[in-house]
């Protein structure tokens, strides 16, 4: 009996100190955390990181439909890109879209949100719904409606301006402006919803204190509200910038990059090169450059926003 109890006692795990137990616990928690992360990590690696790496690798190759006939060209695709007049035109158009659309969308969303965030719940929801509708409506449906409105012969726009026959989307001087305008209408929904929420969360005691101290409405906004909604503004700037850089469906469905490349963007040109010319290496190289440009723009925005706060 004594022998048995001695044997059982010898099998028991040695007692751990508090420090050791907390380390074991921490290790277990870390393991659990990684296990929980694992599914999304697998998807992230498989569908984001791996394609990015493949994109970078392919950009050094000249490859068509036959991947096995791909030839290594080093930086050839990159050199070609900067000598390509259509790429340069697409780059310029992309920058114009971003430079015009991003501030306009952000400023307009902030203005609308400022007007509606203090309204009654029902009215506020109504406006949010109205501005969000173009976002939830399919791009194709939105595009079809706009195409009809811009129709030169029986479109609504020409009826309003009494300019029947004027081809808004077919004129190099107006086509890009039309694209930016449509992009604007489909981009403001989400920023408005975000700004309404952010403005609703502004600390009212600070606002009241500023008002008591005699601050003007502009000062209250600029000194009190603006710093508090800056994180939201930064997020809106980044997503609007990325969306503007990646504007594709509107151009594909409305103008196919025309007239005379007036609405070509980098994104559309990438599609053109990959799926019409089957120049996958060249398209990947442009994709890499586009990603770098977006990263630079986003970094600048982060930096500026940081200095503001």
């Amino acid at each position: 009996m004594t022998q048995r109890s001695n044997a059982a006692a010898s099998k028991q795990p040695p007692k751990l100190s508090v420090h050791q137990r907390s380390r074991v616990l921490a290790r277990k928690e870390t393991l659990s955390a990684y296990l929980f992360l694992l599914p999304s990590l697998i998807f992230f690696l498989g569908f984001v990181v791996a394609p990015m790496v493949m994109c970078l690798v392919y950009s050094f190759f000249d490859m068509g439909l036959n991947m096995d006939e791909a030839t290594f060209v080093g930086l050839g695709n990159y050199f070609e890109m900067f000598q390509d007049a259509i790429f340069r035109k697409g780059f310029l158009n992309t920058v114009i879209i971003v430079v015009v659309a991003v501030p306009t969308v952000t400023a307009f969303s902030l203005w609308v949100s400022s007007a509606i965030y203090q309204m009654k719940a029902f009215t506020r929801s109504f406006y949010r719904c109205v501005f969000y509708l173009p976002v939830v409506t399919g791009t194709v449906a939105v595009t079809v409606v706009w195409k009809w409105m811009f129709n030169p012969y029986n479109g609504l726009i020409n009826q309003i301006f009494d300019s029947v026959g004027f081809n808004w989307l077919g004129n190099p001087k107006t086509a890009l402006a039309c694209i930016i305008m449509i992009l604007f209408t489909t981009s403001i929904g989400q920023p408005i919803v975000l700004y309404v929420a952010a403005l609703g969360n502004v600390d009212h005691s600070l606002v009241e204190a500023a008002q008591v101290d005699g601050a003007t409405k502009f000062q209250v906004f600029w000194k009190v509200k603006w710093p508090q909604i800056m994180p939201t503004t930064l997020y809106i700037l980044v997503i609007t910038t990325i969306n503007s850089f990646q504007c594709f469906a509107l151009i594909q469905l409305l103008t196919s990059g025309g007239p005379n490349h007036a609405t070509d963007t980098i994104m559309y040109y990438i599609f053109d090169m990959a799926y019409k010319y089957h120049r996958f290496g060249y398209a990947n190289a442009m994709g890499v450059i586009l990603a770098i440009i977006i990263a630079i723009f986003s970094a600048v925005q982060f930096k500026l926003a940081k200095s503001e706060t």
Binding site: G64, L65, L169, G170, G258, P259, Y277
Partner: protein
């Protein structure tokens, strides 16, 4: 308690995974038993569209069709598949419909991902020049027996040459047609412009064309006379034929080894079109593709369309409140050369001989079966490539419509769509037209086009 919960959770997940796995197996089994499956179900099974499979005695294949007449209609193709399964229950066919806006992108995506269908239905410009030249298609030479060749050659030798590349046949053709233009008969009548067309032969000269445009404008019969669309590659056969015919130019040389759109005849035609647009006799629309232009024609906004054929006539029949009168493109000598359209089947090389054989069986049923071939051609709304089929529309409801286009068949010109770099030049063509209509000198724009297009010929 925690351990018990964890065990339960683990068991649930394990069973869930097993169940998912079982379902996949069940689906696969179903796919290989076509006799027990309704065709509609097969056709709607999107998840098997990436590729068929072979299990035991049964073979599952997939077919992707572009909207060639009723081959763009799911019910009609399902009906065809059901007829096929009556004869060949051992082969199940999964259908996926493509459209001309996104179809090429889908196919290119499938090629790069290795998930191409077994059968695809389209013309030699895609099946032969594009995918065949890239080594993605199966050589169908065994289907092209001497008898078949002779039968098709009797209709048009260019069909036989269009379906092959370097001695290998990548397409087995079913039907063909000529692409024409059409006029709004009543609008022409009201403007007194019918005098400029030969109603019997459906031809007119370039001079007649210009006079008709002036008469139409003076009468104001329709808001615009005609729209030269150049917003994309859709329906570009119409603008090519318009340019080539005005002064009897050619799009490529006779050997199909280089593009010749910058020839003096073509440049003269482009310059004339530029002038007609500047004079308000025609409208150039860089935002419109053929579908947009056709809609304006059907609405009665435009008095003519440059993109017409039997299929379009059937498609827009319900929209028009006038008589669309099919015409050849105007030419300086009154002898037009119309662009041809050939459609048929090709097989992607997926490396599975059983599936390739099954795909060939299906194609032969659709194109050659005595009880089915004529009906298959009727589905397209076009005309048979096999002379032995004769007039498949005789004594049918559509006989009159078919006769209208049969009148224009003798004007079938060179089938140049097999020239190398075909896909690439289509983008260049509409961009070139945009340049011309935005004021660029026609010769300069055409030279740039030819230089770029020829650079893509491999």
């Amino acid at each position: 308690m925690k351990k018990l919960l964890a065990l339960l959770l683990a068991l649930t997940m394990t069973f869930g995974m097993v169940a998912c796995g079982s379902k996949e197996t069940t689906d696969a089994d179903q796919t290989t038993e076509p006799g027990t499956m309704e065709t509609g179900d097969t056709a709607n099974t999107g998840d098997t569209a990436e590729g068929g499979e072979t299990t035991g005695d049964a073979t599952a294949i997939t077919i992707w069709t572009y909207p060639i007449g009723k081959f763009g209609d799911r019910d009609s193709v399902n009906e065809l598949i059901a007829k096929f399964n009556e004869v060949h229950p051992e082969i199940s066919v999964t259908l996926e419909l493509l459209d001309y806006t996104n179809g090429d992108t889908q196919v290119t995506g499938a090629i790069t991902a290795g998930t191409t269908p077994d059968i695809i239905m389209e013309g030699p410009e895609r099946l032969v020049t594009n995918w065949g030249a890239a080594g993605k298609m199966v050589d169908l030479s065994d289907l092209w027996t001497d008898e078949v060749k002779a039968d098709i050659e009797a209709t048009s030798p260019s069909v036989v040459s269009a379906c092959q590349l370097d001695g290998k046949y990548y397409e087995y053709p079913l039907c063909m047609t000529t692409h024409t233009m059409a006029i709004n008969y009543e609008a022409f009548e009201a403007a007194g412009a019918l005098q400029y067309i030969d109603e019997e032969t459906r031809t007119w000269t370039t001079e007649d064309f210009q006079n008709a445009l002036k008469a139409l404008k003076d009468a104001g019969a329709t808001p615009v006379n005609g729209i030269v669309y150049c917003g994309g590659q859709g329906g570009d056969q119409g603008t090519r034929a318009l340019v080539n015919n005005l002064f009897s130019g050619t799009y490529t040389n006779a050997e199909h080894t280089e593009y010749t759109a910058n020839s003096p005849e073509n440049v003269e035609a482009l310059t004339l079109l530029q002038t007609l647009v500047n004079d308000g006799l025609l409208v150039a629309d860089p935002a419109a593709q053929a579908a947009d232009e056709l809609q304006q024609f059907a609405n009665g906004t435009a008095a003519m369309t440059f993109c017409w054929n039997a299929s379009n006539k059937a498609q827009y029949a319900a929209d028009v409140s006038f008589t669309p009168f099919a015409m050849a493109f105007p030419s300086d000598d009154g002898e037009p050369e119309l662009c041809g359209g050939i459609w048929g089947f090709g097989i992607f090389d997926n490396g599975d001989q059983a599936r390739i054989d099954a795909a060939k069986t299906f194609i032969q049923f659709v194109c050659d079966d005595e009880t089915q071939a004529a009906a298959s051609v009727q589905m397209t709304g076009f005309f048979p490539v096999r002379s032995s089929l004769g007039n498949v529309y005789a004594s049918t409801e559509t006989e009159a419509d078919a006769d209208e286009f049969l009148t224009l068949m003798p004007y079938l010109g060179d089938y140049y769509n097999v020239t190398g770099g075909w896909t690439e030049q289509r983008t260049l063509w509409f961009n070139m037209l945009q340049q011309v209509f935005s004021g660029t000198d026609a010769q300069t724009a055409a030279d740039t086009f030819v230089e770029s297009a020829n650079a893509n010929i491999k």
